[in-house]
């Protein structure tokens, strides 16, 4: 039965504080998970729409931050998958002329994120998620496994694979055998 009395909207008092507390790192992690700069606001908005809708059902089975990271990972994964289909190619195949990915890098450099994206682009989606959550967001590996929805050992495997890949690339760039 619909209520008919006229009432001013009753805002959820928890959401503004949650937004204020979590938005800064959500923006960071979404960047690192591969969301292009031009899509960052849209994708972060998706994260917080999901947070807003899901707050009432969030029963505290995990920490709030862990839960939000999980949303970030899923939203970013969807976004990267579509971006890859649409236009993106690995760093090694970038054309000479500026492409959207290169423009993103230029933008990132102006923002003080010099080419971290280039390194992270070397990783697979699964490796990147684990690496970003562990090395950059500094979650514990147990939390990382929970966020990524994989066994702990799998998370470690992905982390080590990511590290190997980055070091291999570094050696290759430096001409180190």
């Amino acid at each position: 039965m619909l209520a008919t009395r006229r009432r001013a909207p009753v805002p959820d008092p928890s959401f503004p504080s949650i937004f204020a507390d979590h938005a800064p790192y959500v923006l960071r992690v979404m960047r690192h998970l591969g969301v292009a700069e031009r899509d960052l606001q849209d994708q972060c908005q998706e994260v917080f729409v999901a947070v807003f809708r899901g707050l009432s059902g969030f029963a505290g089975r995990s920490a709030l931050r862990t839960w939000i990271y999980g949303i970030c990972v899923r939203v970013a994964s969807n976004h990267r998958r579509r971006a890859h289909v649409r236009r993106e190619r690995p760093v090694s195949e970038l054309p000479e002329q500026a492409s959207p990915a290169v423009q993103d890098e230029a933008l990132e450099e102006r923002r003080g994120h010099p080419s971290l994206r280039r390194w992270l682009d070397l990783l697979t989606v699964e490796q990147r998620d684990v690496f970003v959550l562990y090395e950059l967001e500094e979650l514990s590996m147990k939390e990382v496994a929970e966020v990524c929805g994989c066994p702990l050992q799998t998370a470690y495997s992905r982390l080590h694979a990511a590290r190997r890949r980055l070091l291999e690339k570094y050696r290759e760039c430096e001409g180190i055998p």
Partner: protein
């Protein structure tokens, strides 16, 4: 280079990382979203979610008020207005539809005015029998993590944002001839093109957010145009991530147009298909004005 201990981060590893990688990681950890970015994100959310999100007063970087995050480089600060330019909501008056506040359909920029009465769907104003929307509903598993607990459905991604001009009332009137005898929730297919068709007809760069922002901005003075924009949103994004928010705006637009029966039917459909929606408790709540418990940063929510 030696293997790092099993659980040691590269930043903690005893062996030296290449300096370039170390510097990149250090910069990456410190690169929180700027206050401007947070402010813009808050503005967008406020426009889409309406005052129910509680962001109309403005939230900025509240900082890490909970457990300090090692990577946080901004001190906790009290929330402050993200945009002084955002007009504040005023209390409903005059012909304010009964569902404005209940559905939190009033955006930050909506001031109450007298609703223009425009026939949209014809004298019958029949909306037929609603059908389930082809959108994600709470608890859907389309993008849920493998873990069992119910989690919010991850919305389909929004298109790149753009800000096309708001549809004029003339356009709304011209489109009034379109049949809309069914609730959009019931059967979007006849009136909403198939995905591929919608994609072909889609206006370049028109995102879900942009459409709904325009719709919400038009609510107070041009509810017919607002309703048209929600129809456009439904046609372009039949499985859109912001379907709930669209319905909230559409219901309010119908109220403002004086089409109470249509608004009631659509609201009933909303309740059926978005049971558990965050927008719903505000409708069902009677005299209970107690607020949900807040949750701090990185704390377990009971």
């Amino acid at each position: 280079m030696n293997d790092t201990p099993r659980d040691a981060r590269w930043s903690e590893a005893e062996h030296e990382l290449p300096s370039e990688l170390s510097e990149l990681l250090r910069a990456g950890r410190d690169a929180l979203g700027s206050p401007e970015e947070v402010s813009e994100l808050g503005r967008r959310l406020s426009a889409v979610l309406g005052p129910a999100a509680g962001l109309t007063g403005g939230e900025s970087t509240g900082g890490q008020s909970g457990a300090a995050h090692p990577g946080a480089s901004r001190a906790a600060q009290a929330p402050r207005s993200i945009s002084a330019s955002l007009p504040t909501s005023r209390a409903p008056a005059l012909v304010a539809p009964s569902r404005i506040g209940l559905f939190a359909g009033v955006g930050a920029g909506v001031a109450v005015g007298v609703a223009a009465f425009m026939l949209w769907h014809g004298p019958s104003a029949s909306v037929g029998t609603p059908t389930p929307p082809a959108v994600l509903v709470p608890g859907s598993r389309e993008e849920a993590a493998p873990s069992a607990p119910p989690e919010p459905s991850v919305p389909a991604p929004a298109q790149p944002s753009a800000a096309p001009p708001a549809a004029p009332d003339d356009a709304a009137q011209a489109a009034a001839g379109e049949a809309a005898h069914r609730s959009p929730l019931r059967d979007p297919a006849p009136h909403a093109p198939a995905r591929s068709t919608a994609a072909r007809h889609a206006r370049a760069g028109e995102s879900e957010t942009a459409l709904l922002e325009q719709a919400r901005a038009a609510l107070q003075s041009r509810p017919a145009a607002a309703l048209e924009l929600t129809r456009r949103h439904q046609a372009r994004f039949p499985h859109g991530a912001l379907a709930q928010e669209r319905e909230v705006i559409a219901i309010e637009a119908l109220e403002r147009l004086g089409r109470k029966a249509a608004a009631d039917a659509r609201a009933a459909e909303f309740e059926r298909h978005y049971r558990g929606s965050v927008h719903q408790p505000r409708l069902m709540r009677g005299s209970d004005t107690s607020a949900p418990a807040g949750a701090g940063s990185n704390t377990t929510v009971p």
